[in-house]
C-alpha cells in the first residue's frame, strides 16, 4: 500500500472542454458539440456517457450522442429538466464545461457485425442510440439491415429532424416514426412505439434489438419483442439511473448487485432478467 496510492489516477477531476456549436432541437432539448483540449479524441464506444460539469451547478451523466467515427469532437443532447441542465441551456459557443469519461460499457459493436440491427428509441433515448446508428451507417458494410423505430410524444418533440430526414430517404435504412399525439400537419403513424413492432418482418436469429427510452417503455417493448419471438440473447437495453460519480463508488446507480456506471448502462436482456430491480 505504501507507494501505490501516489500512482492511482485521479477519478474526479474533469478536463476543461469547449462548446463549439449549439443547436436548439426542440423546446426543451439542445445539442452541443464539444471539443476537448488540443482536439483530443474522446475515444468512446457508442452507448457510453460522460459526466458533464457545470461548475457551481454540479455534474450530470449525459450520453454521447455522436459516433466515435465522427471524432475528434463529440455531441451531447441535453434535455432541460433541472438545475444543471437549465444552466447548460444558457451556455453558448465558446463556453467551457468540464468533462469526465467516457464511462460505462457501451454497445458491444463487434458482436453486432453482420447482423440486422433493430433500433428502438423512445423520446430522448434516441440520443445514445444515435451514436450507434451513426456508427453502423459509417461502417455500413459491417451490418446487414438497419431498422430504426422512434417514438416521440408529439411531432414538435422529434429530436433530430435533419438526421431523421436523411435516414428516411436512404434506401439502406428502414425508418419508422410514430407520435403519441399528432398535430394537424402530421401524416405519419400515431400511437405508442410498440405499435411499430408487430408489422415488422424479421430474420429472428440474426436480428439484434437495442432499446433505449423512458423507464415505462422497456416492459412494453419487451412484450412486443417476445410476441415476435425474438430470442432473449438478441435483445440489449440501456438503462438510466441516478449517478453521482460514474466510477463505481457512490452507489447511487446500483441495480441490485450491478453498478450501472460500470457494468451498464447497456445490458443484454439475459442479464436484466437476473436483476429484479432493473425494469
Amino acid at each position: 500500500m505504501e507507494n501505490v496510492a501516489r500512482e492511482i489516477k485521479d477519478l474526479y477531476t474533469p478536463v476543461i472542454a469547449t462548446i463549439s456549436l449549439v443547436e436548439q432541437l426542440t423546446l426543451s432539448e439542445k445539442r452541443f458539440w464539444i471539443k476537448l483540449p488540443r482536439n483530443q479524441k474522446l475515444n468512446h464506444h457508442p452507448g457510453q456517457f460522460v459526466e458533464v460539469s457545470i461548475f457551481g451547478f454540479g455534474e450530470a451523466p449525459i450520453s454521447i450522442s455522436s459516433s466515435p467515427t465522427r471524432a475528434p469532437g463529440f455531441e451531447l443532447t441535453v434535455r432541460r429538466t433541472g438545475r444543471l441542465t437549465e444552466k447548460m441551456h444558457q451556455l453558448g459557443v465558446g463556453s467551457q464545461i468540464g468533462i469526465r469519461g467516457p464511462f460505462g460499457n457501451g454497445f458491444d459493436v463487434q458482436r453486432f457485425k453482420g447482423k440486422d440491427m433493430l433500433f428502438i428509441a423512445g423520446g430522448i433515448g434516441l440520443a445514445p442510440l444515435k451514436s450507434l446508428i451513426e456508427y453502423t451507417l459509417d461502417k455500413r458494410h459491417d451490418f446487414n439491415r438497419l431498422i430504426i423505430l422512434y417514438g416521440a410524444k408529439n411531432p414538435s418533440e422529434i429530436l433530430y429532424p435533419q438526421e431523421i430526414n436523411e435516414w428516411t430517404y436512404r434506401d439502406d435504412v428502414e425508418m419508422h416514426i410514430t407520435v403519441d399525439r399528432p398535430d394537424a400537419q402530421w401524416k405519419g403513424n400515431v400511437g405508442v412505439i410498440t405499435t411499430l413492432i408487430p408489422p415488422l418482418e424479421l430474420d429472428l436469429e440474426n436480428t439484434i434489438a437495442t432499446v433505449v427510452g423512458p423507464p415505462v417503455m422497456y416492459k412494453f417493448v419487451l412484450m412486443a419483442l417476445k410476441a415476435k419471438r425474438l430470442p432473449d440473447v438478441n435483445i440489449y437495453m440501456s438503462l438510466e439511473r441516478r449517478m453521482k460519480c460514474g466510477v463505481g463508488k457512490c452507489g447511487h446507480c446500483q441495480i441490485n448487485d450491478s453498478y450501472v456506471c460500470q457494468e451498464g448502462p447497456v445490458y443484454p436482456y439475459t442479464r436484466i432478467k437476473e436483476l429484479k430491480e432493473a425494469i
Binding site: 505504501e2 507507494n3 477531476t13 454540479g58 429538466t81 439511473r241 441516478r242 457512490c250 452507489g251 453498478y259
Partner: protein
C-alpha cells in the same frame, strides 16, 4: 493484505503496567499522529487524535463513527474552482500523514480491509488510498456486549489480521503481542515492558451464538429471501433516517454537490456520506424513484452487506459491530432481521420438502 496472522499464542509478548502503557502512548505520539478512542459525552466514544494519553479510553464498547472517517471524511472537497472567466479547476492536495490507530477492535480492522476492497474495485480511488497508506494499527481485545455479533460472523476477538501490535487487557495492565515487523520495531525502540516467556493463559470469550445459522450460509439464505415478508415488517418500524448507513463501518456511498462562495467567484465540489435508506437516493430527474419504498431500501441495505458485494469479494460486508442497531432510533436490530430471514428460509425449505414428499 488479507493474510491471516498467526494465533497470538505463538507471538512474542510482554507486559505493560498502566504507567508503562501511558509512556508507550507518549512514545507513539512522538512517532506519528495517534488516533484512539476517547470519551464523547457521558456514554459515547469516538476515535480522535490523542493529545493527552490520560484521555485515551481503551475499555470501550464502540465508537459512534467507525474508522472509515479517517480515510473517507464525512465531508471532503473534491475540487476547487474559479468561476471568473474561463473555469480553473484545482484538486486540493491530500496530506499524506503517518497515523497510528490505537485500541482498535478486530471487527473494525476487518471493516478497513473490506473498504480497501470496495475502493480498489473497478477503479481504485486515490483519495481513499492516499489517506489510507501510512496507517499502523494497534488492536485490542474487547468484551462483546449485547449488540456485538462479530464472533457470529467469524471475526474472533483475538483476530490480529491487519494489526502491528495487539493488546489484551490483563490484571493491572496489558499484554502486548508483537504481530508484525513494525510492531517489533516499536517495542524494540520503546525498550520498556516486562518480557513474558511463560506459556500464557488467556480466556476466549464464549462465542455469542446470536445468529441462528453459521455465517458461511448467509449468502445462500439471501438467495432465497428477496421476496420475504420480513422486509415489509421491518419497514413498518423504520423511520428512513439513514443513521444505520452513516454509522456503518463498511458503508461508503456518497453524494456530490457544488457550493459557490458568497463572492460568486470561487466554489468547491463537495462530497458527503450518503445513505441508501434515504428516499431520494435512487430518484432521477422527472421524478422516477427506483427504490421508492422503505422495504425495498432496507432490503438493498442488507443485500449490500450479505450478498451483492459478497458475490465479488467472497467476504461478508457486515462485521457485526452492532452500530446500526445500537444507534437506530427505532431500535431495529440487524441480528433480529437476519434471524427472521433465516426462519423464513427454513419455513420455505420445510414447505418445499412437504410439497415434494
Amino acid at each position: 493484505m488479507n493474510r491471516q496472522a498467526k494465533d497470538i499464542s505463538e507471538m512474542k509478548c510482554c507486559f505493560f503496567d498502566q504507567n508503562t502503557t501511558k509512556q508507550f502512548i507518549e512514545f507513539l505520539m512522538s512517532k506519528a499522529k495517534v488516533i484512539a478512542p476517547h470519551r464523547k459525552g457521558e456514554k459515547s466514544f469516538s476515535f480522535q487524535e490523542t493529545h493527552n494519553p490520560e484521555e485515551v479510553v481503551l475499555n470501550y464498547n464502540r465508537t459512534i463513527q467507525p474508522i472509515k472517517k479517517f480515510f473517507m471524511p464525512p465531508r471532503e472537497t473534491l475540487l476547487e474552482f474559479e468561476l471568473n472567466g474561463k473555469p480553473k479547476v484545482k484538486k486540493p492536495e491530500i496530506k499524506i500523514e503517518e497515523r497510528i490507530f490505537l485500541g482498535i477492535h478486530s471487527y473494525d480492522m476487518k471493516a478497513i480491509r473490506l473498504l480497501d476492497f470496495s475502493f480498489d474495485r473497478d477503479k481504485p480511488e486515490a483519495n481513499y488510498f492516499l489517506r489510507r497508506q501510512k496507517s499502523v494499527f494497534i488492536g485490542i481485545a474487547y468484551e462483546p456486549d449485547e449488540y456485538h455479533f462479530a464472533q457470529d460472523l467469524g471475526i474472533d476477538v483475538y483476530d490480529t489480521t491487519g494489526f502491528s501490535l495487539f493488546m489484551v487487557p490483563a490484571e493491572k495492565g496489558f499484554l502486548i503481542f508483537e504481530v508484525d515487523e513494525t510492531g517489533h520495531r516499536y517495542l524494540q525502540e520503546f525498550g520498556k515492558g516486562l518480557p513474558l516467556d511463560a506459556e500464557l493463559q488467556y480466556e476466549r470469550p464464549e462465542p455469542t451464538k446470536k445468529l441462528k445459522m453459521h455465517y458461511n450460509r448467509l449468502p445462500q439464505i439471501f438467495s432465497h429471501v428477496y421476496d420475504s415478508p420480513v422486509w415489509k415488517k421491518v419497514a413498518e418500524r423504520c423511520l428512513g433516517c439513514g443513521t444505520c448507513n452513516l454509522v456503518c463501518s463498511t458503508c461508503y456511498c456518497f453524494d456530490v454537490f457544488d457550493e459557490v462562495n458568497l463572492n460568486i467567484k470561487e466554489g468547491t465540489r463537495e462530497r458527503t456520506w450518503d445513505s441508501c435508506m434515504l428516499n431520494p437516493f435512487a430518484q432521477v430527474a422527472g421524478g422516477e424513484n427506483f427504490r421508492p419504498t422503505l422495504d425495498s431500501r432496507t432490503r438493498h441495505r442488507l443485500y449490500r452487506k450479505f450478498k451483492y458485494l459478497t458475490d465479488y469479494s467472497g467476504e461478508l460486508h457486515c462485521i457485526g459491530c452492532g452500530r446500526c442497531s445500537y444507534f437506530c432510533p427505532a431500535k431495529i436490530s440487524l441480528v433480529e432481521i437476519i434471524n427472521e430471514l433465516i426462519e423464513d428460509y427454513n419455513r420455505q425449505q420445510q414447505h418445499a420438502a412437504v410439497t415434494v414428499s
